[in-house]
């Protein structure tokens, strides 16, 4: 590296300050002439050595600033110019040793030589690595499938960081998927709880109603406290189960949902069953409130002898609801892993819309 060599020169010259002969002076003069071509540094004829040194440093820094993309701070344009003086300087060093016995009456010129060969890089050993900072280019070449491919170094560094730091992987999409999977667990619990609760509810109602519904008064007296809370809980569980079933079939994508219904997909079938059960259950809200108000009821609300007329459809609908939710739970249980919305969330990033960074991989 020319810079290092010139720096070595400087140290050597400092050691042999004021001891060099006339030959050296000639070389330095030619060197100075080439330097004086530089328009940035108009030098006085005989300046002080320290000032010259400072000027040279400023020159070097300026040139480096002009060529920031060159590795190690070297300047390609100057390589040809620098090589010749360096060989001359090594020669000059040998000659300087040979002329040690000469008098130092040409001290000013020797100072010039030292200043001319000076470098802003501090003194170091001959075989050490250069101090210039490497300036990496924008691409690295990675061997893939027995060939090298260019890759953006920022992209590669980013992927390495992701590998090193797992927190970087936690994106908004992962948060959404975590929420979705948590709700799926809740829905799975809701499916089973709703099926069991509906079956228990209808068994209690039929037991209280007695054989051939002969004890409906007993049912009203015993069940009126439970009627409204049972209806509310049924609605809550039905909502959770229905939303979970809709999630499984990805109802928002109409084509996918329709295909599921046509092919009798378990998730689509369960969604349909839950939705029918929900509407049937909601339609019994009036009767449930009527049962709830049985103790305080007057004859307009519960006319005498109207119990069977009011309660029979209510019991049948509750039976149908229990069968539907039981069937839906059984259908969901056959394929509990189906979740098209989750698949949609997972593939959302690559499906049809490639990201910009993916397109930056340029084959070499």
């Amino acid at each position: 590296m020319p810079m290092v060599k010139s720096k070595k020169k400087k140290s050597k010259k400092e050691a042999t300050d004021g001891e060099e002969g006339g030959e050296v002076e000639v070389e330095v003069t030619s060197r100075r002439r080439s330097d004086s071509r530089d328009p940035l540094t108009p030098e006085p004829l005989d300046p002080a050595p320290q000032k010259k040194k400072k000027k040279k440093r400023a020159q070097t820094i300026d040139l480096e600033a002009e060529h920031p993309d060159v590795p190690n701070g070297d300047m390609v344009e100057l390589e040809g110019e620098e090589s010749a003086p360096v060989t001359r300087k090594t020669k000059r060093k040998k000659k300087a040793k040979a002329t040690e016995q000469f008098s130092n009456d040409l001290e000013a010129e020797d100072d010039d030589i030292i200043t001319d060969a000076s470098s802003p890089i501090p003194q170091q050993s001959l075989f050490s690595a250069p101090h210039g900072h490497s300036q990496p280019v924008g691409k690295v070449f990675v061997e893939r499938n027995r060939r090298f491919q260019a890759e953006r170094i920022e992209h590669r560094r980013h992927s390495e960081d992701e590998y090193m730091d797992p927190r970087q992987i936690w994106t908004t999409r992962d948060v959404a998927m975590k929420v979705h999977s948590s709700f799926r667990v809740l829905g799975l619990f809701s499916h089973g709880f709703l099926a069991g609760y509906a079956v228990w509810n209808i068994i209690v109602v039929y037991v209280l109603a007695g054989e051939q519904m002969t004890t409906l008064q007993n049912l009203l007296q015993q069940y009126h406290l439970l009627a409204y809370p049972a209806q509310s809980l049924l609605y809550l569980l039905l909502v959770l189960s229905t939303v979970s079933a809709f999630d499984r079939v990805n109802l928002a994508k109409a084509s996918m949902a329709l295909r599921g219904f046509v092919t009798l997909d378990p998730a689509a079938l369960a969604s349909f069953l839950y939705f029918i059960a929900l509407i049937l259950s909601l339609s019994q809200q009036m009767t449930s409130d009527r049962i709830n108000l049985y103790p305080t009821a007057n004859e307009t609300l519960w006319p005498p002898g109207s119990e069977q007329q009011i309660l029979r459809p209510w019991m049948v609908v509750n039976l149908v609801v229990a069968i539907l939710v039981g069937l839906a739970w059984a259908v969901v249980s056959t394929r509990p892993d189906i979740d098209y919305t989750e698949e949609f969330l997972v593939t959302m990033e690559v499906e049809g819309y490639p990201r910009a960074e993916d397109n930056l991989d340029i084959p070499a």
């Binding site: 994106t171 948060v175 929420v179 609605y235 809550l236 909502v239 928002a252 909601l282 959302m348 910009a356």
Partner: protein, 162 residues
């Protein structure tokens, strides 16, 4: 770019409001000891629905897709939620006004008519669809592509200009 922490916080708020809405829909009929209780519950429920709609709209406005002017793309994706939210809010307000009007002077009386029953069924059914679409949209808003420039967005933008 949407930060993960911010998105988690917004998602938590949205799900909390949804949970409150579900709670009121499920158990408001049980909490009718005094008409003012239902009044407060219903007002808060309607405000929660409104807040949820405002939050989702703000999130839509915050996307890069919206900022570059591709509103049609967002509408195409989230039109169902906006329609169902508006429908559900309307049905809820109507049902709340009707039920409270009938129960205001005597909270524990039988108020059901065929019309109120039909409105109740529609409101509660719309609620289920609202929960589903809202939850799905809130999750879809975590899509990182909505918040940054990309090739597919440029393609859509070029297509839209043509």
């Amino acid at each position: 770019m949407l930060q993960t922490g911010n998105f988690s916080l917004v998602l938590l708020i949205q799900l909390t409001l949804l949970a409150y809405d579900l709670f009121v829909n499920s158990f408001s009929e049980l909490l009718r000891g005094a008409p003012v209780i239902q009044l407060v519950l219903f007002i808060m429920q309607d405000i929660a629905i409104l807040f949820n709609v405002i939050i989702i709209l703000l999130m839509l406005f915050n996307t890069y897709v919206f900022q570059v002017g591709l509103v049609s793309l967002l509408l195409e994706r989230f039109r169902a939620l906006l329609i169902i939210s508006a429908l559900y809010l309307t049905l809820s307000i109507c049902f709340h006004c009707w039920a409270l009007n009938l129960r205001w002077f005597q909270s524990n009386r039988f108020i059901w008519t065929d019309g109120l029953q039909a409105l109740f069924v529609f409101q509660r059914t719309a609620a289920v669809l609202y929960y589903y679409f809202y939850k799905r949209t809130a999750e879809c808003m975590g899509d990182p592509r909505l918040y940054e420039d990309s090739l597919w967005l440029r393609n859509i933008f070029t297509r839209a200009r043509q």
